[in-house]
């Protein structure tokens, strides 16, 4: 793997981690909201 390839590898890995982290955070908030709404039913 050339240094350019490795840099691209790291860049993709990093951006994927950020997206997965963001999606997980979104679902944490969503599940919290669903729980609050369901508890009020």
């Amino acid at each position: 793997m050339t240094p350019q390839d490795e840099a691209e590898y790291r860049r993709r890995q990093k951006s994927r981690n950020w997206v997965v982290g963001g999606v997980l955070m979104f679902f944490v908030v969503l599940f919290y909201a669903i729980t609050i709404v369901r508890m009020g039913d």
Binding site: Y9, R12, Q13, S15, R16, L30, A33, I34, V37
Partner: protein, 302 residues
Amino acid sequence: MPTDWRDFFALTKPGVMRLVIFTGLCGLLAAPGSIHPVIGFTAVLCIAIGAGGSAALNQWWEADIDAGMKRTSKRPLPAGRMAREDARNFGILISAASVGIMGLAVGWLAASILAVAIIYYAVVYTIWLKPNTPQNIVIGGGAGAFPPMIGWVAVTGDITMMPILLFAIIFMWTPPHFWALALFVQSDYAKVGIPMMPVVKGEASTRKQILIYSILLVPLAASPWFVGGTGAFYGIIALALSLIFLALSLPVAMRRSQEEDAMKPEKRLFAFSIIYLFALFGVLVIDRIADYQGWPIPGVTA
């Protein structure tokens, strides 16, 4: 090299998803009763994720076919930007997640219909019908017809005549919509051996069937008004839109393509068919909200 996250997003066919989200949301908003905004949002989100999951499974299965067609050759799998099993695993994961979340947060009837819709598209249409019968679009159209029904059931918790009619409208709309597209990309489908109607039965038969479905769509689109599910506001606009649809399908039905044909009537019908569905479901929601809010729109009395 890890797959770029944008390719996973592309795997969900975001363009198709817009129509799925819109019709699902319209089904939810047009249904009698109320739903908490958080639960309603979750229902639409699950419909979108489920559609994305089935689209990913569709592309996993059809990677070889997609590679042979100009329109689809740049998708992540045929372009070699993603491993095939990654697409399969991603599709299964988000499909299962959408059904699970829908069941827990919204209701298990809506979740069951969502599961049926995913299996219908990924298995019945993609694996079974599409490569084997020119009626693939007719029967497979059912997959795209589920979202408004799921949205409706998320609110009401039961299946009544109205969600069945909304299902039937999209079911009847799909063949002329898709065959109009198939007419101007038919050489691509022929190349990869997909038995699309124009390839197997020929252009003349396809054009005739486009007209038949467009005629049937006129009374069907207005049927929610006939059964008292909407007011005349929806009914009259639905009739007008369907008559325009029919008028655009007439030149498609009455012509034959020539060498180097620009296929303008077919492209016009395809473009209008998308506007038609957005407008029809938009009017359905306006009719419902106007009735609920008591807006002074003539004909709004469900």
